[in-house]
């Protein structure tokens, strides 16, 4: 019934028209739009690549800091870290002023066996040692310690 009514019309005869060459041009336009839509992708990829480089360099710096965390140690040792004992002072003096020890050795060398037998080092008082040096050595001379 419904179809019978509609049979009077030819559905292939279309009163609606399109501009000449419309579909050919439209196909090209649509493909061009698809190309345009693809263009941002490489830009995004480039940004990602740049970011990955930045992240990589930052990671390398952080790892470097972790693996070598300490700065070169200062040569100056804080005085609070040194135990000031007699032994440490003696060691320090021997290291820093070896000439003093050499001077003492030269004095001993100058003593004869009799002198050595006659005296007891333990009995030497500081003033007696100074007197001995004053009496036996020319204080105006420079002694070579080599």
């Amino acid at each position: 019934m419904e179809d019978e009514f509609l049979k009077q019309f030819n559905k292939r005869k279309n009163p609606q028209k399109v501009p000449e060459g419309y579909f050919d041009q439209k196909k090209l336009d649509l493909l061009a739009i698809a190309d345009e839509e693809q263009k941002p992708e490489p830009k995004g990829f480039k940004l990602k690549a740049t970011l990955s480089w930045v992240v990589g360099i930052a990671a390398a710096i952080i790892i470097g800091v972790i693996l070598y965390p300490t700065a070169p140690k200062s040569d100056v040792i804080p005085i609070t870290e040194v135990a000031l004992t007699n032994a440490s002072i003696e060691e320090y003096l021997l290291e820093e002023y070896p000439a003093s020890a050499m001077e003492e050795a030269l004095i001993v060398n100058e003593l004869t066996e009799e002198d050595l037998e006659a005296i007891s080092f333990n009995a030497f008082e500081e003033n007696e040692l100074e007197e001995f040096i004053d009496n036996n050595f020319d204080q105006t001379l420079d002694y070579e310690y080599l």
Partner: protein
Amino acid sequence: MEERILELLNQKDKSKVAFELIVSTFSERLYWHIRRMVNHHEDADDVLQNTFIKIWRNMDSFRGDSKLYTWLYRIATNEALDHIRKNKKSQLVGADGESVEYDNASGDLYFDGEMAEAKLHSAIASLPEKQRLVFNLKYFEEMKYEDMAEVTGTSVGALKASYSLAVGKIKEFVSKD
């Protein structure tokens, strides 16, 4: 052709080729489907372009759960309906709230009002958009009700009822003159 397009869609690097095939196979059919909905060529041209942009952007999301052509028609239909609703303000609205934008001859440069079939088109243009859609898909596209259900998201029974109502209104419109 649809099988070939589906094969290409399954290969990610072939999506451009698949799109080219979709354009060459369906652009004309989709244009006429849209044109019958929006009537004017310029509007149909805009809607067709938006339709293919959406197709291109969503090609990866097509899983083949529905037929390719019903998926394409659904996008085109939604775009056309969206366009009609956006332009509602510029349309004449009848007393019953239904669109009466059927003065094709004065509104569209690309309409031959002298043809007998022009009266049919004017009658179709007078239908509410849902009935117009159903009538066009059934009469011009010769689409099965099951496929129409996929396109419109409406049950087959409701579609049959809409088509019957549409034909009745067209008959009434034509018999008036």
